[in-house]
């Protein structure tokens, strides 16, 4: 590792364990190399020296076939199969989680040193110059500060748990090494994302995680649907990345630097709320909307559930999708001086939260429910960072990582069990459809308990973690509505304060719906009569410990996660740990938005009221769900009828995908094919101009050769015509 150490001016972290920070991303990358190598090596069957199938295909015939046989099972669309484990499964299942655990340990050591020292400036390590072009100097550099540390801990921590879970979950998949290779690579890029010291390096991770999500969603690529989903995810993300790129271009062409420190230093120079900074923030938010599945780019996330469930847990719940939130928090020095942009962020966040929650009401696929809930929770986070409560947003990011990962892994073990059961009886029922579940509580009690904990957390029932984070967001929103730079600004002529109150209402409503659909999910899955089918029941059982173990850890975290940042009025522990921790990074920006210590604005009483309201709403939601939903009346998916009216609209996610398809995708394709290619390219340019002109030449030539009739008389005539022409030319000058 070439370390051209540019002296970090006696930074407190200099010379401590923090100098190994570059190992954090590198360890997972190492895992990727090893696992990837194993995967390729085990799958490869080097071809004959002359590959022309005319002669050379007999020898490799057998092997190639063998592979396709093996993978045919893996290709079977769904998570789990009874074929013997991959021959290198052993070593892979050690390396895969190990590298992550290692980097988690390292991260924790660095974390402790960071706690011990008091650091106000980020710890920046430059390794080598990446793109040095004139005034544009982009280094491959790592920036370690409280914000990135928080992300690193979440990623490596939750990541490690999910890796361990995967060992059990993917054990018997033929693509086992490939799976871990991708997963390690993902973590590598995710860490690059959060550790990068400038926007381009962040962008490397940004696109890298997109790539890994593409590869993992399409992990069982033999199903067209999965491959499509992967592609969709990548392309939609690309649309967002386009915005991110433009934001970077604007930054460079106006500020001339792209590293966080430089931009932060230059940001105050920009006109407060000016067009430039607003544009930068809005373009950047387009990127966030793509990565974090906000309106209008959320469409890829539900499809992303095609990937293996642990992937959904890690990438599409805990880490990658929250990158957008991280980016806004990371760029707080920009957003805090662009109130209009911040309002847009908050508004979109609020809308998404509500909108996705309504979708969640009518999904039958257990993972789809969680997907829409993820979108909705991400909306919350954006409300948080949008209203300038960056800590609140990050706080919810963290707690969400805990309980949503738990929910996904729980659903994973449910599916695992369901699938095993169906596999035994050779049934082809859908193992993810809640209408085929029901009453699983008595078969898998641990999962049941843990998932209830997570559900209470996400529903916002005190004292579970979700309650604190969600409440801090709603509280911040309400209070910013009172007075803040945002309240003073206005969007589309609507005063900011009005909007903020509206957003607050959205948030509360979303909380209500969240409570409903989560409870619905729990009821249909674990309660009521079992609809799996009599034959299968006997095979339903709890997952092995390697899977339930991580669930337990996550369960604990999602219960006590709230203690990381207790609000002042609930003094059951140390107050505002996270606030203090993140203050060096986002504190200034927060205060700028809140106009210096907005806390004083509302009294404790108002805050108490807000809390009461939130809790009441959550409880009401759950109560309503319990009151209205009748699991007994459900019939298995195969017999159940199609929904009617608005329910169908909800079940089809408001037909947004179909709309995009009809309005954007098809027209583009048809125009490109018929007009651009057939019409302009083949028809006009090539046909008419190019080949046409040559045809014209040949035509003239043909005519000329016809005049050459062979009769001397004609020749004489032509000659004389020429004579007259020349005579005319010289005389009539």
């Amino acid at each position: 590792m070439m370390l051209l150490q540019i002296a970090t001016q006696a930074h407190p972290l200099a010379g401590t364990v923090a100098k190994w920070v570059w190992l954090l991303p590198l360890l997972p990358f190492l895992g990727f190399l090893i696992n990837g190598g194993i995967s390729l090596f085990s799958a490869a069957h080097v071809g004959p020296s002359d590959p022309d199938m005319g002669h050379g295909h007999d020898d490799s015939h057998g092997d190639a076939h063998a592979i396709s046989e093996a993978e045919d099972h893996g290709a079977h669309g769904d998570d789990h199969h009874a074929v013997k484990p991959h021959r290198y499964a052993g070593i892979v299942s050690i390396i895969g989680p190990l590298v992550l655990a290692a980097s988690f340990v390292l991260a924790f050591m660095i974390f402790t040193t960071m706690r011990s020292v008091d650091m106000t400036t980020p710890f920046i390590q430059r390794y080598f110059s990446w793109m040095p072009v004139g005034t544009l100097q982009i280094d491959a550099a790592i920036q370690l500060d409280q914000l990135s540390m928080l992300m690193v801990l979440v990623i490596t921590g939750v990541g490690t748990l999910i890796h361990i879970f995967s060992v059990g979950y993917m054990r018997e998949d033929p693509g086992y090494p490939r799976y871990f290779a991708y997963l390690n690579l993902f973590v590598f890029f995710m860490l690059v994302l959060v550790l990068g010291a400038n926007y381009p390096v962040l962008f490397v991770g940004w696109e890298g995680v997109g790539l890994c999500s593409y590869l993992l969603i399409g992990f069982w690529f033999s199903e067209k649907a999965n491959a499509d989903a992967g592609k969709k995810a990548f392309i939609v993300n690309r649309i967002g990345d386009f915005g991110f790129l433009i934001a970077m271009f604007l930054l460079f062409s106006n500020i001339g630097v792209l590293d966080f420190a430089g931009v932060k230093a230059a940001a105050p120079g920009l006109a407060f709320g000016g067009a430039l900074v607003t544009a930068i923030c809005l373009f950047m938010f387009l990127g966030c909307a793509g990565k974090s599945a906000q309106i209008p780019l959320y469409i890829w996330l539900p499809d992303a559930m095609a990937g293996p469930t642990p992937v959904s847990a890690l990438i599409h719940a805990a880490t990658m999708v929250t990158a957008g939130v991280y980016l806004v928090a990371r760029s707080s020095f920009l957003f805090s001086i662009a109130p209009v942009a911040s309002l847009v962020v908050a508004l979109i966040g609020g809308l998404t939260a509500l909108f996705a929650a309504t979708i969640g009401l009518k999904q039958w696929d257990i993972k789809k429910v969680l997907a829409s809930s993820t979108v909705s929770q991400l909306g919350y986070m954006f409300v948080g960072v949008g209203v300038g409560a960056y800590t609140a947003g990050m706080f919810h990011l963290m707690t969400h990582a805990f309980f949503k990962a738990l929910l996904f892994l729980g659903s994973g073990s449910v599916i695992y069990a369901m699938h095993a059961a169906y596999h035994h009886t050779g049934s082809h029922e859908d193992a993810q459809d809640m209408r085929n579940m029901g009453g699983l509580r008595k078969y898998m009690p641990i999962t049941w308990g843990l998932m209830w904990a997570a559900t209470l957390a996400i529903a916002g029932i005190p004292p579970f973690s979700g309650f604190f984070s969600k409440d801090s967001i709603l509280g911040a929103t309400f209070e910013r509505a009172g007075h803040s730079t945002l309240a003073d600004a206005s969007l589309f002529g609507i005063p900011g304060s009005t909007l903020l109150y509206l957003i607050y209402v959205f948030g509360v409503a979303a909380a209500f719906l969240t409570a409903i659909y989560m409870t619905r999910m729990m009821i249909y899955t674990f309660h009521g009569p079992n609809r799996t089918g009599s034959a299968e029941e006997s095979h339903l059982h709890e997952a092995p410990w390697v899977m339930t173990g991580p669930l337990v850890v996550l369960g604990v975290l999602s219960v006590v996660g709230g203690w990381f940042n207790l609000p002042a009025i609930i003094p059951i522990g140390k107050i505002g740990v996270l606030d203090g921790w993140l203050d060096p990074v986002v504190g200034e920006a927060t205060r700028r938005v809140a106009e210096a210590g907005g806390e004083a604005a509302h009294g404790a009483s108002d805050e108490l009221i807000l809390i009461v309201v939130a809790v009441a709403v959550a409880v009401a939601g759950m109560a309503l769900a319990f009151a209205r939903l009748k699991p007994q009346t459900l019939v298995p998916a195969s017999q159940s009828p199609e929904e009617e009216g608005f329910e169908r609209v909800l079940a089809h996610k408001y037909y947004v995908d179909e709309a995009y398809e009809a309005a954007v995708v098809n027209p583009t394709y048809q125009i490109s094919k018929r007009v651009l290619w057939r019409g302009i390219d083949a028809g006009l340019i090539d046909g008419l101009l190019v080949n046409g002109s040559s045809a014209l030449m040949r035509g003239f030539g043909w005519v000329g050769s016809r005049i050459q009739s062979g009769a001397v008389g004609t020749y004489a005539w032509v000659l004389v015509v020429g004579v007259l022409a020349v005579l005319g030319a010289v005389t009539l000058r």
Partner: protein
């Protein structure tokens, strides 16, 4: 030394190389007619003729080495003449070499054919030397009459006879125009001596004299026929197709070159003073010739015909040098003649090598897959085609030839940029048919029913090889030839005042 042509002995000396060729030809004619016709005899006469040509070249080299010149007179003694002569003689040697194999193939046993070539060549040399319209006329006729016969040499072939007839009738027809032109110019200026004409048209502003301009027009027509400018080109394709292949090469290269040499000299020495009166027609003729030749060549199936049209196109390119009307462009002119002669003889050599008796195997399609059976022949043909196309390196000297013409066009006192652009555009069109030949030879598979190719005769091999090698070598290092041809630009109107101007001026507009 400097010849004073008014002294008969010195005139003889100045004319010696031409006389040498003529005399030698006479003797060979007797010898050829003496012995009964036979293959062997035909060959020995051919060899003898080649020897004669070489001797004449040596003689000319001797003159060049001495750097002779002459006072104004009926003939010129300058590098322009010598360079042109050498081009003719090389072409003649090539023709004879090809004929010896070709005649054997076609069963032509008349040794006289070679002698006729020599006589025609002597006419050409006269043309190159001519500094008097009378000599020009004589040269043209000596050349033409011989070539009429050569065109119909293959008595058994009806096509050959037809070609000869067409050539003869139209040739005579155009000669009449040429002659009329000479008469009118004579009438306008009172002399047939180019130098005097030059001085007079320059001194008395005759540029708008009706008689003179009509005469010039008639001369354009006469020369235009000989060098096959559109629309006076109609005879060329038929005659080229009908004539025996070596003779076709001879006509395409040597005859054209000779007529052009005279054309150039007449224009530079006599009419460079009245550019305005002829520049327009020449310009348009050049354009028409380039366009017509290239376009019609696109739709040809027979390779000889295709090359006939391509030679018309090349006449157009060469005419550009005349259109620039500057002595500087004679270098480009001569250089082009050399390059074109080499390429033409190479190409026709390949045709002779592949042609079967009865003038079969002459369609371009017959060359399909040639590369797979005769790689070297195919490669050589490719070189010749690219040379005619004027492509760098692979086309060798052909590129420099075109390059120099363009340069002289752009460097002319009145830059001929438009002509240059039309020239390059039409050469792009020409790629359409030159590359077609290459494509057929290299990229089409050999037909199943294709007749086998005969083995190539030694002399033919010699011509093809020499042409290819020269083209390629000169295509990288043209300096020697460039320097040599640059020296042939000494064709300058000698401004010598003469007493009869008054007489001319009052006659030149008759009552």
């Amino acid at each position: 030394m400097t010849f004073d042509l008014s002294v008969p002995s010195q005139l003889m000396a100045a004319f010696a190389p031409d006389m040498l060729l003529m005399g030698g030809a006479m003797i060979l004619l007797l010898w050829a007619a003496w012995r009964p016709e036979s293959e062997a005899h035909q060959r020995s006469v051919g060899v003898a003729s080649i020897v004669l040509c070489v001797t004449v070249i040596i003689a000319i080299a001797f003159y060049i080495a001495r750097g002779d010149s002459s006072l104004p007179g009926i003939i010129a003694v300058d590098n322009f003449r010598w360079t042109a002569d050498i081009v003719f003689l090389i072409a003649t040697i090539g023709t004879i070499a090809l004929s010896m194999d070709y005649n054997a193939k076609e069963g032509i046993t008349a040794g006289e054919s070679h002698v006729l070539l020599l006589l025609a060549t002597s006419g050409m040399m006269t043309l190159a030397a001519a500094r008097d319209l009378m000599i020009v006329f004589l040269g043209i006729e000596i050349m033409s009459v011989a070539v009429y016969v050569l065109a119909g040499l293959n008595r058994r072939s009806e096509k050959s006879a037809e070609g000869a007839l067409k050539y003869f009738l139209l040739g005579a027809f155009s000669t009449a125009f040429l002659l009329y032109g000479i008469a009118l110019v004579y009438g306008a200026t009172g002399t047939t001596n180019l130098t005097l004409i030059g001085t007079r048209v320059a001194q008395v502003g005759l540029s708008s004299n009706a008689m003179l301009v009509v005469g010039i027009a008639m001369l354009i027509i006469g020369f235009g026929f000989k060098v096959a400018l559109a629309p006076f080109h109609m005879w060329a394709p038929d005659v080229y197709e009908g004539a025996p292949t070596p003779i076709t090469a001879y006509m395409a290269a040597a005859v054209k070159a000779a007529a052009f040499a005279a054309f150039m000299r007449v224009w530079l020495e006599a009419f460079s003073g009245v550019t305005s009166s002829w520049h327009g027609p020449i310009w348009w003729l050049a354009v028409a010739t380039m366009v017509v030749g290239n376009l019609i060549a696109l739709s040809q199936k027979n390779i000889k015909r295709m090359l006939a049209y391509s030679s018309i196109a090349h006449a157009g390119y060469i005419l550009v040098t005349i259109a620039t009307s500057t002595t500087a462009s004679t270098g480009a002119f001569m250089f082009y003649l050399i390059a074109y002669t080499l390429a033409t003889f190479g190409a026709f050599g390949v045709i002779v090598a592949l042609e079967r008796d009865g003038a079969s195997q002459l369609n371009i399609e017959d060359y399909a897959g040639l590369w797979t059976v005769r790689p070297w022949l195919a490669s050589a043909m490719a070189v010749f085609m690219l040379a005619l196309l004027g492509f760098p390196i692979f086309g060798g000297i052909g590129f420099f030839a075109k390059y120099w013409i363009i340069q002289s066009a752009l460097q002319a006192p009145v830059p001929q940029t438009k002509l240059a652009i039309i020239l390059v555009l039409t050469s792009v069109v020409s790629a359409g048919y030159y590359l077609y030949v290459v494509m057929v030879m290299f990229m089409r598979p050999r037909k199943e029913d294709a007749l086998p190719f005969l083995r190539t005769g030694g002399w033919t091999k010699f011509v093809i090889g020499a042409a290819a090698i020269l083209i390629l070598i000169l295509g990288v290092l043209p300096n020697s030839v460039v320097r040599w041809t640059q020296r042939s630009n000494n064709v300058v109107p000698v401004a010598a005042a003469t007493p009869q101007i008054t007489a001319v001026s009052n006659v030149s507009n008759p009552r």
